[in-house]
Point group: D2
Chain length 287, copies 4
């Protein structure tokens, strides 16, 4: 089986969670190796349950196969009530230390693009400081923090106050946070639904991108009718110009993980091996 993608710069990243299949982490690692992925998303919960020796053995195997870590999720809900947020934030230092010990250097979360209770400005102030708090703790552990904006109008227009849902707004958020450790997680689906161009990607520096997702969108729907939870593997329909997006990443020298996150019912229903095979094939075609 040929490599899905191993370039000098960015590298394909297998995230079974993003595919909607659950083979278990050891099997996910096997699949990453089998299909030549350049990286695999860490299952931090699973790894916490292993002995140091087992973890070391796993890391050795990944190193031998040239498989790096993708990115982790951040166990803090930016939108939680204050007491919940306080508890989650207080646990973050230990989580970040665990990432650092594993060698995971990227973690991320997404921005909920609307609110029924917070105006745009109030929500922005909340995000600036809460993300800043999370980031300061991650940065101290050497872990970069990525923020994914969510583009579909069918999402951001559903509550009283729309919020950040474009790259331009995400950059305002990054500027207000003012930390070089925070960056953006790009997803072609959001880039497409926000009507952005390859040149918009080129306004970023490589350092401002923490991770990348590639997806396509179903045909038969206008851009403003696309639904966040209904996507396709990259290149599947051609609705999204994934090639132009990838070319822009190449132009600015992005060096980091690229995965797919198709939220696709058909894919979810397949055996994990088949789902990963199709994913590897789609990534190989577009990278």
């Amino acid at each position: 089986m040929a490599d899905a993608a191993k370039t000098d710069g960015f590298y394909s990243n297998l995230s079974c969670g993003a595919l909607g299949v659950s083979p278990g982490f050891p099997a996910a690692v096997d699949l990453a190796v089998e299909f030549g992925f350049g990286a695999v998303d860490p299952d931090v919960g699973y790894l916490a349950g292993q002995s140091p020796a087992e973890v070391e053995q796993l890391r050795a195997r990944l190193a031998e196969q040239g498989v790096r870590w993708g990115n982790a999720g951040v166990p803090v809900n930016i939108n939680a009530d204050a007491a919940t947020f306080a508890t989650q934030l207080a646990g973050l230092e230990e989580f970040a230390a665990r990432l650092a010990a594993l060698g995971v250097d990227r973690a991320g979360t997404w921005i909920r693009p609307m609110s029924d209770s917070l105006t745009y400005r109030r929500n922005f102030a909340r995000h600036v400081e809460r993300i800043g708090l999370v980031d300061e703790i991650l940065a101290a552990a050497g872990v970069r923090f990525g923020l994914e904006y969510v583009g579909p109008k069918t999402f951001w227009s559903t509550e009283r106050y729309p919020f950040v849902h474009t790259l331009a707004e995400t950059r305002e958020l990054l500027a207000a946070i003012g930390s070089s450790n925070v960056g953006v997680i790009l997803d072609t689906f959001h880039w497409f639904t926000s009507a952005e161009s390859a040149d918009d990607i080129r306004t970023l520096t490589a350092d401002q991108i923490v991770a990348v997702d590639l997806n396509d969108a179903p045909t038969g729907r206008e851009r403003d009718e696309q639904i966040d939870g209904q996507r396709l593997l990259p290149g599947a329909s051609g609705v999204i110009d994934v090639a132009a997006f990838v070319a822009a990443l190449r132009d600015i020298g992005y060096a980091g993980p690229i995965k797919v996150e198709p939220f696709n019912a058909e894919l979810r229903s397949l055996p994990a091996h088949e789902a990963v095979a199709r994913t590897a094939e789609s990534l190989k075609a577009v990278l």
Copy 2:
């Protein structure tokens, strides 16, 4: 002919422009008197073309009939390019002096609830300072400045960046401007489409309201499907609880003009006399 509404506090206001009929200003004054309106919107352009004696005669007639001035529009486009805005702003001092000479003490504009080029924050910064500039000139002439927010989702969700479209956001804008001369223009149509309550009105002080519009909404459409340019006379359908809205105005002691602005094709097609008669009747029923 019975009075449409002359209370100690607020008073009915005839705006032929808002009804979509154009009998000419002298005829509008006649209609206001005939149907017992408490106020009539000034036609500043028309009045500028009259001699001082003619204006004085008109004002004497209005005074004799107990008819006050409603509110004027502000001839400055808050969303214009810089050179246009500069020219319009430079002409505002003279316009404000004209209002002051006529005895008109209220003027207003509406807030465009979205933009394709300015993010929420950029647009907010623009509105704060441009409205502040307009307000400082109006305030120096003794003219209050009212801002009308626009509520329908079919409006604010149509461009890339939604903007101020609720009372809560309008209050943030007022707070950021920081001038007691600026207030809000309330419209039941926007209050309804923004899903606001009578208690939301009660969070305002009477001084924070510069003018009020009463309208109803057509049946057969969800709140989020209502269209800004398709409304009904207040009380026509009962979709909007105009009585609860008016009761809240009474509770906080609002004292100012109340008009209707139905953007209604049927009304527009009537002779002015008939359109005004129906308007007076509808206002009489709800006030």
Copy 3:
């Protein structure tokens, strides 16, 4: 021994900590009773070490003497690094529950009026959200949160970026936080050094004030030369017009604790009984 001050509205509050004397909490309660204070600041640490029965006995004695609780400090440093802030915030729910159990309904902190690392805007964003987090937890326990701004120019001008040091700025902060549970702690020393007037106090509603401090300032120094840690008992020099300040509080109907916080070396060197006697006398004269 005559009452220092027991009015229908505000009431004198004994804070031995603010006087710089340390008789221990039981003795502080004795002194509050002896000198007729209307309230005493709780020593939350001490009380946490007492049995429920002892605490109940103390509360009964206070109730019998008509002595209420003043206000507590908040054990969260708004300016701390993220990990420290997270830990402190995570402990706040329990602390707030303890306050609620004791019947303490006010707690406060002060705003550091400058920073060497955060610009005004960055610091403002930090304060908005961090104070908001603290406030949400305190509010859930029924405890109001007061913020004290610090006025002396000899303080706010000593680092690269001055920060909130006036009532006007504190009100902007309150507006941005947007919670009716947060209010201001007024201190005549900061009011004086910020060159504010009694009318500035009158722009507040009683509900916006959580606690009040009265102090005077030494003679022989210009307003801009006054030093935060060198003050006098209220009325001692007449440099600060404490009477005008108190009259404004009366006008707006402030109902809450009033203490002195003179940061005065001479007072600190006295036996606690003598220091409290002088304090009671000074409060009696000005209230």
Copy 4:
């Protein structure tokens, strides 16, 4: 007479106004030529009074001698009342067209670093939008707009509300304005009094700098005691490390005018020829 400075990148710029001498514009041009300056600040008022033929003749002479235009001032007071600002802004399009016709491509103003009436946030909002309005008009004419921050504590600490007085804050202002046409005017005197480093300069790109001033500061005064109107020619005392500043400009590839603005009584008292000679000499030594 040797060239003061003609490099591939930046170039020395003669501004008699900044030196405090008034030889008249034709004589200023003669002096620029005589002392080998790479640029001369345009006297837009003088040039407006000349015939097209005279202006053309002058431009031809400058071109022949390799002397470019420095930068013009902007005839709009960012801090003016609304009516004055409106009038000045309305005249800016014509002024900008005149600059464009002359070939002048840079204009600037300075930021008043404090206010007695506007809080930091209110003042920031004002600057964002007013500078944005000016910039949009200048940009349409192809003229870049430079903002000079003012660093001395003896200046920014003299009114109730300090304002932008550091490079970091100026960059926040630029980010909020969001126009690539606006940049910063750097002055070693403000860089020194704001305690900034050469590395702070290196955080800028060449495009973000519109113009540069070099000055030194008198000995015998602490950094915080330096006074804006009392400076020295660059290199005169060595208090300011002008060489490190210039090295940083070279590192980032700044290509634009560099002048001195010493606000120095002794220099002002000299004949223009002598003042310019000393200026040329000082620039030659540091560039």
